[in-house]
């Protein structure tokens, strides 16, 4: 499942095995979604999986804009949030009117919520791309988020509106009270939306979106109106963001103005970019990582925001193609059979790099806990933040780790160059 530009000559040979592998990847993904909760069944992991599922749908929808069409939006959460509100209102309406609509259909209404807004606002917004679009989306995002606090009857003010997912008509005997059932509902919609969004990339519209991203001017001369293309992409992105919002509403049973706000918009931009916009599965990885960090880091350290920042800076600087880009870099090497020449240099690099990371962590935690005096627990070793021993350890790790690590990074680069040359010679790399 990739839209990657691949090798030159070996493509035809792969084609027959390709479709098998293609369906294999999808089936594997679905199977994983089904068995995951059986392996990790604690309440905590179920909640995490559910949130990750929602984040994936949201990030994929964002990539329709950023990765596929080249539109940088600072207000994508508007559709997510409106989807959430639409779903909440719909659930409440279903309950109060006694409509026979079971819960699994609700995300569709979330999607419609996101879509309707996109349809209304999108035409003027997508007139232009680039900074103008980005800034309009910032403005619209703030406008909608602030208005949601004023239009209390629809958005419920600061506290938002709540709903009860179990009050809807049952389906297949499921009440959707237990988190497990909600997880499967989310997983179901995740698969559905992912397939739909993947399919979208394979349609004429999807391809033309790519063309608009690369060169909107030229698109006009092959018969397309880039404005229409951007608008349609915007609507699709809005719809799937709304689906994600609807899923969130089901999961939390609440929708409030924070759904719509800049923080959500920023997070989805983060997830998508960090995962990698050039590949379909990039945003999936990004959503998993970011959600996981968000949930996990706060447990480990009080200064999680600092790590969050550092990790992002690191990824942006050292892997601008995102995680997916980093992974896909290796594909030609695997095909050319030269990956094994790089692995040893990776292994060598791990030790000093980890040492460096530990040193940084130790330094940060030492500073952070200096006044509190709580011990730092790093891989089972306790450090006292007020003791000079800790400081020296941190300094040695950082400085020593850095210098040794730098040498090993060079080694990686060299090994890479060699492997890539071979891959190029064998026609697996352009």
């Amino acid at each position: 499942m990739t839209t990657a530009p691949t090798s030159t000559s070996k493509v035809a040979a792969d084609a027959s095995g390709g479709s098998l592998r293609f369906y294999g990847v999808w089936l594997l993904g679905i199977a994983a979604l089904i068995v995951l909760p059986m392996i990790f069944s604690s309440g905590g992991s179920l909640t995490s999986f559910s949130l990750i599922g929602i984040a994936i749908v949201f990030a994929l929808s964002y990539n329709i804009l950023l990765g596929q069409t080249g539109l940088l939006s600072f207000g994508h959460a508007v559709h997510y949030g409106l989807g959430g509100f639409a779903a909440c209102h719909m659930m409440n309406a279903v309950v109060s009117h006694g409509w026979p609509i079971p819960l699994p259909f609700i995300p569709l209404f979330g999607g419609l919520g996101g879509l309707v807004f996109a349809v209304i606002i999108g035409w003027v917004m997508t007139k232009r791309a680039g900074t103008v679009f980005a800034m309009i989306s910032l403005g619209i995002g703030e406008l909608v988020a602030s208005s949601s606090l004023i239009l209390r009857s629809v958005f419920g003010g600061e506290s938002g509106i709540t709903t009860d997912r179990t009050a809807l008509p049952k389906m297949l005997g499921w009440s959707f009270g237990p988190q497990l059932q909600v997880y499967y509902l989310i997983a179901f919609w995740l698969v559905l939306s992912a397939i739909a969004m993947y399919a979208l990339t394979r349609t004429p519209l999807g391809r033309i979106s790519n063309a608009v991203r690369d060169n909107p001017e030229r698109v006009q001369f092959i018969g397309y109106d880039p404005h229409v293309v951007r608008y349609l992409a915007f609507c699709f992105a809005g719809f799937f963001a709304g689906v994600a919002g609807g899923l969130a509403a089901i999961n939390f049973e609440i929708a409030n103005s924070a759904y719509l706000g800049a923080i959500q918009s920023g997070l989805v931009l983060f997830s998508t970019f960090i995962g990698g916009t050039a590949y379909f599965f990039g945003p999936i990885l990004g959503a998993i990582l970011v959600t996981y960090l968000q949930l996990g880091l706060t447990n480990l350290t009080g200064v999680w925001q600092l790590y969050f920042g550092i990790i992002f800076i690191g990824i942006v600087m050292f892997s601008p193609g995102g995680i997916a880009g980093l992974l896909m870099m290796h594909r030609p090497l695997i095909r050319a059979g030269t990956l094994w020449t790089v692995i040893p240099s990776y292994l060598v690099a791990i030790v000093p790099t980890v040492a460096l990371a530990c040193g940084v962590i130790l330094t940060i935690e030492t500073v952070a806990r200096f006044s509190g005096g709580d011990p730092i627990n790093l891989f089972g070793i306790a450090f006292n933040p007020t003791s000079p021993v800790t400081w020296i350890a941190a300094a040695v790790l950082v400085v020593g780790g850095f210098f040794v690590a730098r040498l090993t990074w060079r080694r990686i680069a060299d090994a890479w160059d060699r492997a890539a040359t071979v891959a190029r010679d064998r026609g697996y790399l352009a």
Binding site: D417, A420, T421
Partner: protein
Amino acid sequence: MLEVRDLHAYYGKSHILQGVDLDVAAGEVVSLLGRNGVGRSTTVKAIMGEVAPQGTIRFKGKDIAGLPSYKIARLGLGYVPEHRDIFPSLTVRQNLLLGIKDTRRPGKWRLQDMLDMFPNLAARADTAAGVLSGGEKQMLTTCRTLMGDPDLIMIDEPTEGLAPLIVQQVGDLIARIAEAGVAILLVEQKLSIAMRISKRVYIMGHGRVVFEGTPDDLKANAAVRQEWLEV
């Protein structure tokens, strides 16, 4: 003035320049000829530091290999690249002014001289350079580099995409520059101009210089022309 010895350069792992030697004396006009893709542009880029050079490059006796390009330029080496890197959002005038390295020391060439020389540019002085016609862009880049008052100017394919008449004009311009005492390293495909104005020519093939001599030598040597210039 410019002395290049055993110059090597790579794009990634491909070895493009495999030991280029060439010299340009002060005030001299020298052409660097050769087929497409033999590495002529790469040679000048390596001299300017845009491509990492290996080997010796001396300019006015100073080793400039590996210096950042702004330092090389400040030594008095001008470079007009082949893709007409004009600054599209700036006006023609602003483009020209950016050629001046130090506003406190006026050079030989004034803004007005340039505009006089090319009425086309004068008429467009205050329009954004991005809308210039292909030919106008070429004139602009050359003039811009001249504004920096170089002692040696390296021009990469100045006549590409120019109308025949303008090609002649550019030829005249180059001759004028040479008259003003500026040395020129001309990278060209069109033999006619090169032959007309240069004192010496180099021909490149396979990443190294394969022929060196005067235009007359070259005229006399049909075999070289046949093998290295496909004419």
